[in-house]
Amino acid sequence: MINGPLLRHTWRGQRVRIAWIGLAMGVWAFLMPVIYATFGRQMEVLLQSGIIPDAFLRLLGADPFSLNGAVALGTVHPVALGLQLVYPVGFAATAIAGERQRGTLEVLLARPLSRRSVFLTLLLSILAFAAVTTVAQLAGTVAGATVYGVADQLDAARLAFLGLNTLALLVAVAAICLAASASFDRPSTPIALGLVLVIGGYVLEVLGTIWPDAAFLQPYSPFHYLQPLEILAGRGVNGDVLVLLGVASVAAVVGLVRFPRRDLAAPT
């Protein structure tokens, strides 16, 4: 079901971009242990002084300036999420609808490959891109902690679980955006859906965190199922990963059913 030439073509076309994003992700993650090692003590004093509002502290997590807190904050910071989601949203939303709009989907589907194979191959490509950025994030974290001599405070198994949970989040978002891409003739709608999912989800999660009355909205956000601080503190739950993989599976099934059944009229 996975098409080798399409997979290679997709990789070849994106390798420079994904390398840059991976590098940026690695540098970002490298900075988190550096910030902790350099400013952790001063920040702790600042927090204990009581001048930072509780709502803001809740947003930062219960333990914002421990190494775990710094790494967790770095994981769900908008900069990190922006870098991580370039491919699961930007690439996935345009992967099929963009080719359809440009007319190149015609040329691709004139070859002996099924639409399901195209969908699965693209999903696998995005999964691989997400794995690159996630591994870069973990590698950057470990490198920063090692260089600044705080690596002993990191738990390898918990870090690996954080990577798995992050990957599950990216795959869920990617599967939704790819299913949308397979359902429309223009990429604008899948892109809009992806942005609503990501920005709306982020707002719901933040809102629920700083305003307890809105906490009931958080389960509707994909970001609710990635709790880095809990994971790094050893309180991560498999259920979050399962929910995200469940969402990814449902979205993939929708795409796999919908795409082959669609009529692809001549591009106008």
Partner: protein, 317 residues
């Protein structure tokens, strides 16, 4: 075995039904035809008549509303992937991957086809696509060069059936001639070509048989020769003395006489007409040659409005 066999193929778009019948677009209605192995088959009709819809149904881009078809003996619903493995397709107004070079593009599509590009070198040679051109990115190509790449990608793996949608679009006259030679060679090798075109002179030049579609319905399916023989030709004749009586002659109509000149329309076999004028003193005789373009226009005569309404309704599909 027929290369293509369609049986009552129907494709409707939109909602239709009793609530919103106006929402239904009949892109293709009850089309039944057979394309024989080893022939070049022309598929004619104005924009929106249903040509591309028919092709897209054959290749699995669209799903039929009713009816069915086989391509190379394979069912279009069940065996779409296998059909595309054995078929070469040139879409109308082909879009290519602009970031790739011509060579890389052809390599990529050959990899996807999973068959060796046994005819690429010969095709590139015939269409004057040299190695230097193929190393340039496609974004730098002119429309004609893109069309050449489109032709090569459709035929490079020597498919048993080539489905070509407006294949000579954008080619200059020299390249059109080279393309016709490619089709002649292809036919000589026992391959089948199904092609849609607006350019009636090229259909007349290369096709063995033609089908004409109008507003989604098949209105003619004949040998090119038969279609031409059937069409009405205009006759102009200068005579010395009284004009011959042609009123009862088979195939002759619209007779007009003005002085020494006689005009009439001639349809089908010309021999009864020639026998009828044999006794007259004919000074000059002009019988307009039969052209496919006129035959095509005759098929649309009187229904132009319908045809163009359908064109608009089908939105170019």
């Amino acid at each position: 075995m027929a290369a293509i066999s369609a049986r009552g193929l129907v494709k409707h778009y939109g909602t239709g039904g009793q609530v919103r019948p106006a929402g239904l677009i009949r892109a293709l209605d009850d089309v039944t035809l057979e394309v024989r192995e080893g022939e070049i088959f022309g598929f004619l009709g104005p924009n929106g008549a249903g040509k591309s819809t028919f092709i897209r149904l054959l290749l699995g881009f669209l799903h039929p509303t009713a009816g069915g078809a086989t391509v190379l003996g394979l069912d279009i619903g069940r065996d779409s992937v296998e059909i595309r493995r054995r078929t070469g397709y040139l879409p109308g107004g082909i879009a290519l991957y602009d970031g790739l070079t011509g060579e890389r593009h052809l390599d990529y599509l050959a990899e996807l086809a999973g068959r060796p590009s046994v005819r690429r070198a010969a095709l590139c040679d015939q269409l004057e696509l040299d190695a230097r051109t193929l190393r340039r990115p496609i974004r730098d190509y002119s429309r004609g060069m893109r069309q050449k790449i489109g032709i090569v990608q459709a035929l490079q793996h020597d498919p048993e059936l080539a489905i070509l949608d407006e294949p000579s679009e954008g080619l200059d006259p020299l390249m059109q001639r080279a393309f016709y030679e490619i089709l002649d060679e292809y036919r000589a090798a026992g391959r089948t070509v199904f092609f849609s075109s607006h350019v009636l002179s090229e259909v007349e030049r290369v096709c063995d048989r033609v089908a004409v579609v109008r507003a989604g319905r098949l209105v003619a399916l004949e040998d090119v020769g038969t279609l031409l023989a059937r069409r009405r030709r205009q006759v102009e004749m200068r005579i010395q003395g009284p004009p011959p009586d042609l009123t009862a002659v088979a195939g002759v109509s619209e007779i007009r006489v003005d002085g020494a000149t006689l005009w009439c329309a001639l349809e089908g076999d010309p021999r009864p007409f020639l026998a009828a004028i044999a006794g007259s003193a004919v000074l000059d005789l002009v019988i307009e040659p039969a052209r496919l373009e006129d035959a095509f226009l005759e098929l649309y005569e009187g229904d132009t409005a319908d045809a163009f309404d359908a064109t608009a309704a089908a939105g170019g599909r």
